[in-house]
């Protein structure tokens, strides 16, 4: 048992639901008590989804507790099958259902015999994995389910003829409620078009499970975020010998590295065919010099002023590692501490940022992060929504670079973090965070823009009206943002009616009077 106020990664079923609802025509059924379908609210609110989220519950109530789910789960699966005709139904356990120890696998088996849809049981353990790990697992599970059904010889022998004629890739790991995933996906498409590489499939976002059997047609796989998709890539590598690139194309240096890896992969596979070998060096050079402003920004006077400034970075493994490298390597900013909450991937993370920061912090306790930031007193923080709030409390500016995030980090405008446009976005984010901090600091030194303390917003403080103690107390209970208005209205009414002492009654009489 532990005392917890906040968590960076959600419970396992959220990960499963995110993958399920990213695919087209896949329905997730949660085995959960009333109220556990909060995922639908998040998707509808944060992503501003226009469609109903394809996730529903098979409710666990008192009755289920006493007698077991019996026919209920199977009935719910069959009902969804009839109503929505999904390609796949994923039965999702929750923390509640996993301690009930019902044989959900058996329900899935029974339902799959009768239903037209495919039915699988999400193989995630609530007490072992978190949201991110569960998403990774579920994606692999779905891919495996559709590929393992293919004939073995079809898999092995025909593999070569099976590849697309021109070089093509799968992008794995773009999905719903991901941090700037939609924008990143668009940026990757653009990049691959520039490189003349076809996109075979993007999963899970917008993908169809019926097409998964064609995944091996691609020449290799791209895993932009290592949190989700790596398991799938490893599976495809093992079974089909598909190479994969797990470097995140974030920041100018890693971008170049990523494109060179693509080049290498394409050229290896073209050895035996008649297709020309590719050389992307010229492209990298042009993009880095002129499309991305980041390289120029690093040499500009603006960035010079940031040299040696101290920062703290915290987030998921992919973003925290990439941003740390960008700050240290590309902008000359000192990263005092870099950390991640992806404890399961700590080794990789440490290896990545070795030499780019003074200290490394691996934790999922926000209090520990807050303490560390308070100790270091950096000039800026790059972290999640939580670090933004820590920054607010400590008066340190913060740029948000990783999930978990709130609705303001699901922007409508084009804000990729990946690719060459991404380098521009990141440069803006970094520069704006510091510039604001600096401006704030100068204002503080010179006593602010204006004389600070304004006692009251009205021009004359002497109204000649007396607020009795009760009404004064009542006024103080009114939320601050409307308090002034209530005060003005009440005094207005008192003056109209010739009342000298303001009581609680007068206050509420004025509310009624001025409402209309």
């Amino acid at each position: 048992m532990k005392l917890a106020y906040w968590m960076y990664a959600g419970p396992a079923h959220i990960g499963t639901l995110r993958v399920a609802s990213s695919f087209k025509n896949v329905h997730a059924i949660m085995h959960a008590p009333l109220g556990d379908d909060y995922f639908n609210v998040m998707r509808s609110m944060l992503e501003r989804e226009r469609d109903f989220t394809a996730a529903s519950s098979s409710i666990v109530d008192r009755h289920v507790l006493a007698h077991g789910s019996q026919e209920r789960v199977v009935d719910n699966i069959l009902r969804k099958d009839k109503e929505e005709r999904p390609d796949l139904i994923i039965l999702t356990p929750t923390c509640t259902s996993s301690i009930l120890q019902e044989d959900l696998q058996n329900f899935v088996y029974r339902a799959s015999i009768i239903s037209d849809s495919n039915v699988i049981f999400a193989d995630v353990d609530h007490y072992q994995v978190n949201e991110i790990q569960a998403a990774d697992r579920t994606l692999e599970q779905v891919v495996r389910y559709y590929l393992d059904r293919l004939d073995r010889c079809y898999r092995q022998e025909k593999l070569d003829q099976f590849l697309t004629n021109a070089p093509s890739v799968n992008i794995i790991g773009i999905f719903t409620l991901g941090f700037h995933n939609q924008h990143d996906c668009r940026e990757l498409r653009r990049l691959l078009r520039d490189l003349d590489i076809g996109i075979n499939q993007i999963i899970p976002e917008g993908g169809s499970v019926e097409d998964l059997k064609n995944l091996p047609k691609a020449w290799f796989n791209l895993i932009p975020y290592r949190e989700v998709g790596l398991m799938t890539a490893m599976y495809l590598n093992k079974e089909y010998g598909m190479p994969y690139i797990s470097t995140a194309p974030m920041g100018a240096v890693d971008m170049a590295e990523w494109i060179r890896q693509i080049q290498k992969n394409v050229n290896t596979l073209t050895l035996s065919s008649s297709i020309k070998r590719v050389d992307y060096e010229h492209y990298i050079d042009g993009q880095t010099r002129f499309v991305s402003q980041a390289a120029w920004f690093s040499r500009s006077i603006d960035c010079q002023n940031l040299t040696g400034k101290e920062t703290v970075v915290f987030g998921d493994a992919t973003h925290a590692a990439s941003i740390t490298k960008i700050l240290a390597r590309e902008m000359g900013i000192r990263v005092s501490c870099s950390g991640t909450y992806c404890k399961h991937d700590a080794e990789w993370f440490k290896e990545q940022i070795q030499g780019f920061c003074d200290e490394i912090l691996i934790t999922d306790d926000h209090a520990e992060v807050g303490y560390m930031i308070a100790q270091m007193e950096p000039s800026a923080i790059f972290g999640t929504q939580m670090e933004r709030h820590i920054g607010k409390r400590l008066d340190i500016p913060c740029g948000v670079i990783s999930a978990p995030v709130h609705i303001q980090n699901f922007p409508l405008g084009y804000r990729p973090f990946l690719g060459y446009e991404g380098t521009n976005q990141i440069a803006d984010l970094v520069y704006n965070s510091f510039a604001l901090g600096m401006e704030d600091h100068l204002l503080d030194i010179f006593g602010g823009h204006d004389t600070k303390e304004v006692i009251t917003k009205s021009l004359s403080t002497d109204t000649g009206l007396i607020w009795n103690p009760e009404s004064r107390l009542e006024l103080s209970k009114i939320p601050r943002f409307v308090r002034e208005k209530v005060k003005i209205n009440t005094e207005k009414l008192a003056r109209q009616k010739g009342i000298e002492t303001i009581t609680v009654e007068v206050m509420y009489a004025s509310k009624e009077a001025f409402n209309s």
């Binding site: 048992m1 106020y5 509808s44 226009r50 609680v504 509310k511 209309s516």
Partner: protein, 457 residues
């Protein structure tokens, strides 16, 4: 249209596959209401995730609630529950020094049968802070019913009145002016958690009728809980407090005043009119007052008149709101509601029926434990002007040209009493006003045509 019209009041029941908030969400408003409390939710990551996302920015304001997050060892009983809770409660006592710790039992504690009620008194004695237990879990309850479970637990801690009120009058001298100002001698306690300024508005409303409210359950501080006992009259201000009402009647021997709820000017007037006769008071100027409020709502009433509403149901305020909206001239197609206590809501249901007759509209169907999927089909057929629904369905419905209002806002907005009637209509008309603003832009349906849920046009 295949939708039935009812002459009398009937309650149907569907499958219970509907979207609502988990009842542990009650900590969000109760910790703010009860200033010296600390809420400890004993549950899993799932509960924590819900709270942290549903409560958004509140999380960052150093809230007086936390999760006692159960780990695998707790579930498999390898760890000692009592020692675990003791460790956390001692830490809470050290860090926050609350006057009461409220344990919120969840689905998990139910399933593993953690004996919270058994452990609380022992630990309370050991650490010297009152510990209350409320089982606000999703197995049994929906959303606002969470508050009901907490208040029911709290009712047990209310002190007994020192003496019978009749005797007290003889033994304790009461200041003369106090006797003159108020008519009632037995005390009246109101139950239901309201923002303190709304509570004082209702206090004032009764004061105008010379009725003194001797206390509220809950009070602003745990240490100020009202006295309850034989001869004390109690009256609810919210429709979801049936367990609390039952506890007050059965365990505390209070007299319940069954009344409609003070939501809307009609409800507020009916509420006062039910309370006054109990204390032998004749109401004064209530009719004119209600009239004046309706008068002041005129601009909003013009907007809503003749428009239709569909309540999908998730917070139990539905019947009271529907009754008010019918009185405003709206047509209500369906009142979805998680749970219907016909006894506790009897007066409200009667007022609903009377209002329908008065306004010459058929009584809407009331659907208990609704099925969201069926409801969406019905919304598609009925094409209501407004659907009052949870956030899970709001955006998808808007994209299909159905105006929606997020139901949770009614829980957090100030909707009680005469003065706040306007706030209810402010909420209800907001989508209608927005629609009017955007009317000329076209494109009310913003989903791809082939979608099977496509609705208008």
């Amino acid at each position: 249209m295949s939708v039935k019209v009812y002459e009398t009041l009937t309650v149907e029941c569907e499958t219970g596959n509907y979207h609502t908030f988990c009842p542990i969400s009650c900590v969000s408003w109760l910790y703010q209401k009860i200033e010296d409390s600390f809420f400890l939710v004993v549950g899993t990551k799932t509960c924590g995730y819900f709270l942290q996302n549903a409560l958004g920015v509140m999380i960052f304001a150093e809230p007086r609630y936390a999760m006692a997050e159960l780990e695998e060892g707790d579930i498999s009983a390898q760890l000692n529950d009592y020692e675990g809770l003791k460790r956390l409660c001692i830490q809470i006592k050290k860090d926050r020094d609350p006057s009461v710790i409220i344990w919120i039992g969840t689905c998990t504690t139910e399933i593993i049968k953690m004996d919270l009620e058994g452990m609380a008194p022992k630990l309370e004695w050991e650490i010297g802070i009152p510990i209350l237990v409320a089982r606000a879990n999703g197995l049994d309850y929906a959303f606002t019913q969470g508050e009901d479970t907490v208040l029911a637990a709290m009712a047990h801690r209310c002190p007994e009145p020192e003496l019978f009120v009749r005797e007290r009058k003889l033994t304790i001298s009461i200041k003369k002016h106090e006797l003159g100002e108020y008519a009632n001698s037995p005390s009246l306690v109101l139950f239901g958690s309201l923002p303190s300024n709304v509570a004082s508005q209702l206090n004032l409303e009764l004061k105008r009728q010379s009725i003194k409210v001797s206390g509220w359950l809950p009070a602003q501080r745990y240490t100020d809980l009202p006295s309850l006992g034989d001869g004390v009259y109690v009256c609810g201000v919210n429709p979801f407090l049936s367990r609390t009402a039952t506890t007050l009647i059965r365990r505390k021997k209070c007299e319940l005043i069954g009344a409609p709820f003070p939501i809307g000017p009609d409800g507020t007037r009916a509420w006062i009119e039910k309370i006054c006769p109990v204390f032998g008071v004749e109401t004064q100027g209530l009719e004119e007052r209600e009239e004046r409020i309706w008068e002041s709502l005129k601009d909003y009433l013009d907007l809503v008149r003749g428009k239709s509403v569909f309540f999908m149901g998730d917070n139990l305020l539905e019947v009271s709101l529907a009754r008010f909206l019918i009185r405003c001239g709206m047509i209500v197609h369906e009142i979805g509601i998680p749970y219907m206590d016909k006894r506790y809501q009897a007066a409200e249901l009667l007022l609903l029926q009377d209002t329908c007759i008065k306004m010459c509209v058929p009584i809407p169907r009331i659907v208990e434990k609704p099925d969201n999927s069926n409801q969406i089909q019905r919304i598609r057929e009925l094409q209501p002007d407004l659907a009052i629904t949870g956030m899970a369905h709001a955006n998808p419905l808007e994209a299909r040209g159905i105006s929606t209002k997020w139901s949770v806002e009614f829980t957090f907005a100030q909707i009680h009493g005469f003065a706040n009637a306007r706030d209810v209509l402010e909420l209800v008309t907001r989508p209608l006003r927005r629609q009017k603003n955007l009317e000329d832009l076209g494109r009310t349906t913003l989903v791809i045509k082939k979608n099977k849920f496509k609705m208008s046009q």
